[in-house]
């Protein structure tokens, strides 16, 4: 936008030249900001020197010495850096599982809010209004202190739900799938099946494109994959996957999957809370698809499945996905409340390391950088998605 050739013949005094003023304004602004930051950094240095500290990340190589009860395999003899990594993985773990669960809750409730059944509609509305207007931390404390630690029975008298799920004050025990010895053999079928399925998908797509006809190549590929996996299951000697069921031994359950009290209450709390917001997004998305468009597409003669895939879904997704992504990010950030109910996420491990080492600045930098990375990755992904959506639109 800068001029290709300066048009003015006589000179303008610089204090009135708009372009000079623009540059000057920015310079002054930056100088003030920089001065402020320098002042803070200088204070930091003075204060740290007074405590005899210097900023350094070497402490990450020292032995951590504190236990972390869940997540990756970890020993108190491992170093701080690794302990922090365990925390990061735990944050990612609770976030991913929470996202899956909250999406299910949100979708079901969102659809229920538009149900033709009056009772279901009101019930879903009640859920949304109750959950949204109570602080998340109150809900987490409720699940953790009141439900998990007070209302649930001891291990001996655990509540048994259908499907061998046990609820106790020590956490939740569920049946889980483990890999058996013969899994190695079956794995070859998985790899082979995937290769064949992809080949079929590509082949069918090209075929359809050449014939200029519509179709769903993914269904073909999926069917073939399932067939190969099924055949492999029967041809492999012994079951490749085994189900382990929690069994009550003398003091505790053995086998199966154990979810700690902290993890369970955090998972429930985050999913129930975020689910209310997602329900509103899903509802708005469904409403955004005007009935007219569905009808128009149907009038053109598309089948119902085609209408859904080609007309309704892409438009609904365009309305739903951006706010959904920000809710997922909110859930991830909110998982930092874990520290108040004893789940070892990155915030919790980070503060524990700070308490042991006194490294305030370094730990805060690490914690913030971890969350910022997750936010940045999400927004990059969203930018990519938005750009693609715009291309589709044009």
């Amino acid at each position: 936008m800068l001029s290709k050739k300066v048009s003015s013949s006589h000179s303008v005094p610089f204090w009135r030249d708009v372009r000079v003023l623009r540059v000057m304004g920015q310079v002054v602004f930056l100088v003030i900001i920089a001065a402020g930051i320098l002042w803070l950094l200088n204070n930091l240095q003075v204060n740290l020197r007074a405590c005899g500290l210097r900023i350094s990340f070497n402490f990450l190589r020292n032995t951590a010495g504190f236990p972390i009860s869940e997540g990756l395999r970890y020993n108190p003899t491992d170093v701080h850096g690794y302990a922090f990594w365990v925390g990061i993985v735990n944050t990612i773990r609770i976030s991913l599982i929470g996202i899956a669960l909250t999406t299910i809750i949100g979708t079901v409730v969102g659809i229920a809010r538009l149900s033709s059944n009056w009772l279901v509609k009101k019930l879903a509305g009640l859920y949304v209004e109750v959950v949204r207007n109570i602080p998340l931390l109150v809900q987490l404390f409720f699940w953790y202190f009141a439900v998990m630690l007070t209302a649930l029975p001891m291990v001996k008298n655990s509540i048994r739900l259908p499907g061998s799920i046990y609820l106790t004050r020590r956490g939740v025990y569920l049946p889980w799938i483990t890999l058996a010895e013969s899994f190695g053999t079956w794995a070859w079928y998985i790899i082979g099946g995937l290769v064949v399925a992809i080949a079929v998908y590509v082949f069918r797509r090209i075929q359809l494109k050449r014939a200029e006809r519509p179709g769903f190549p993914i269904i073909w590929a999926g069917t073939i994959l399932i067939l190969i996996l099924g055949a492999g299951w029967f041809l492999t000697p012994g079951n490749p996957l085994a189900l382990t069921i929690p069994v009550l031994k003398r003091f505790n359950f053995e086998g199966g999957l154990w979810l700690s009290t902290s993890f369970t209450s955090l998972l429930i709390g985050l999913s129930v809370y975020t689910g209310a917001f997602i329900a509103e997004i899903v509802r708005a998305g469904i409403l955004a698809i005007s009935r007219g468009q569905t009808e128009a597409a149907r009038a053109v003669g598309l089948k119902k499945a085609h209408v859904l895939r080609l007309v309704v879904l892409p438009q609904a997704l365009r309305v739903i996905i951006p706010p959904l992504a920000s809710q997922y990010l909110n859930l991830t950030k909110n998982s930092s409340l874990a520290i108040l109910i004893g789940y070892y996420d990155l915030m919790n491990v980070g503060t524990t390391i700070f308490n042991q080492t006194g490294r305030a600045v370094e730990m805060i930098m690490l914690i913030m950088a971890s969350y910022l990375t997750m936010s940045l990755l999400t927004s990059l992904l969203m930018n990519y998605y938005n750009r693609r959506m715009k291309l589709v639109e044009r």
Partner: protein, 403 residues
């Protein structure tokens, strides 16, 4: 004459919409049993509601609710000394008076809000509180009524409106100083990190009040033509929005004093307020930016064309329109901030949620954990739900989305 005839013609041909009265059975059939699937859904959800309602009822009847009245003072104002409680009431009266004044002067939504507040105080006064408390509660209604009368009288007067705005703005610092005390005049109350629910309210009000100007500046900066300003503002907004509040509180509790010279040592509550302001400003900026984006380019051009410079254009033309659009979003943010103040407990501030722990730790009240959490939930729910209700009404009256 012509026009009157035309109007009469239009009136004559206008029919009221057909009123539909659906018999109960048809309503049931349409809304609950329209298909087999729906019938099953109805039965399942009825069973669910029954279970929940009966479970809740049985629990609620057996619950030890006496824990709430016995600790009510502790929950609401924490360790605020009893002999100074009149200051808290005075602040409540001030707000009630101003609410009444505004409702007298404007009517509409404001009037409904203040009437509701006055009614609630009267209803509360009927409840079996100690007689002294009942008297104080009735005073709320009296203060609101007095404000209403004055506001009604001063309705048309020009300076009355200015006075109203000025007193609303001034009421915040005055209330805070009044609660805290000033050296020499009002004794300063010690231990202001232990004021229970009052801290949640103060935190939210201070947070939103201080973050508003900062957020507006950040939003304008993010839309600046000057890349350096834009970059710095965007970076600030995105960094704050990218990290959880609790990590900022952690920073305030352990790192803020490292960043300040040794002579400046703000206490815990001030640090918490600063943090929540810095946090809220980033979100405020995004809300305001949404409003700014809704203002068409033509408004800027028209303002420049009549000779207004950039600053005047922003202050006189752009901001008044943009801020009006984002009022509902700001109310939403206030609600979120209010709920976020429960995180103050993380840095050892005894707000409502954290102060309950001291009650739970008391042997006398062991096992009242459900009662306390349900109480906190209800308090927050009532306040947040009514605020979001009011905000939805504002949205309707403003006609957001129609220009």
């Amino acid at each position: 004459m012509d026009e009157n005839q035309l109007a009469g013609y239009a009136d004559k041909n206008q029919l009221p919409p057909p009123s539909e009265r659906i018999p109960a059975i048809r309503w049931l059939k349409q809304n609950l049993f329209s298909s087999w699937f729906n019938a099953i859904l109805t039965i399942v959800s009825t069973a669910l509601i029954m279970t929940i309602v009966f479970g809740l009822l049985r629990w609620a009847l057996e619950a030890r609710w006496e824990v709430i009245p016995a600790n009510l003072k502790l929950l609401l104002v924490g360790t605020y000394p009893v002999e100074h409680l009149w200051r808290v009431w005075a602040v409540v009266y001030l707000v009630a008076f101003l609410l009444g004044f505004s409702s007298g002067a404007h009517g509409g939504l404001m009037r409904r809000v203040s009437t509701t507040a006055a009614l609630v105080s009267v209803v509360l006064a009927v409840l079996p509180f100690p007689w002294g408390t009942r008297g104080w509660l009735l005073g709320i209604a009296v203060a609101a009524a007095a404000g209403f009368g004055l506001g009604y009288l001063g309705k048309g007067i020009r300076w009355c409106k200015r006075l109203e705005i000025a007193s609303w703005i001034l009421s915040f610092p005055i209330s805070l100083i009044f609660l805290n005390g000033v050296g020499g005049i009002l004794p300063v109350i010690k231990g202001r990190t232990m004021w229970g629910f009052m801290l949640n309210l103060i935190g939210a009000v201070v947070g939103i009040g201080l973050s508003f100007p900062v957020g507006v500046l950040l939003a304008l900066g993010r839309r600046s033509r000057l890349p350096a300003i834009r970059l710095v503002c965007t970076a600030y907004i995105e960094i704050i929005r990218g990290v959880p509040l609790i990590s900022l509180l952690f920073m305030a509790s352990i790192m803020l004093q490292l960043l300040l010279p040794a002579s400046v040592r703000p206490d815990l509550l001030i640090r918490a307020m600063l943090t929540i302001t810095a946090f809220s400003a980033a979100y405020m900026a995004e809300n305001v930016r949404g409003g700014l984006q809704a203002i068409p380019q033509g408004q800027y051009e028209a303002a420049y064309a009549v000779g207004l410079n950039r600053a005047l254009t922003t202050i006189l033309i752009i901001l008044p329109q943009a801020l009006r659009i984002v009022i509902p979003a700001i109310v939403g943010q206030f609600i979120a901030l209010f709920m976020d103040t429960t995180l103050f407990g993380f840095i050892a501030i005894l707000e409502l949620l954290n102060i309950t722990r001291s009650i739970m730790g008391n042997l006398e009240w062991r096992g009242t954990i459900f009662e306390l959490y349900v109480f906190i939930g209800i308090v927050f729910w009532i306040l947040c739900y009514s605020m979001s209700y009011v905000s939805r009404r504002i949205e309707k009256t403003l006609g957001v989305g129609e220009r």
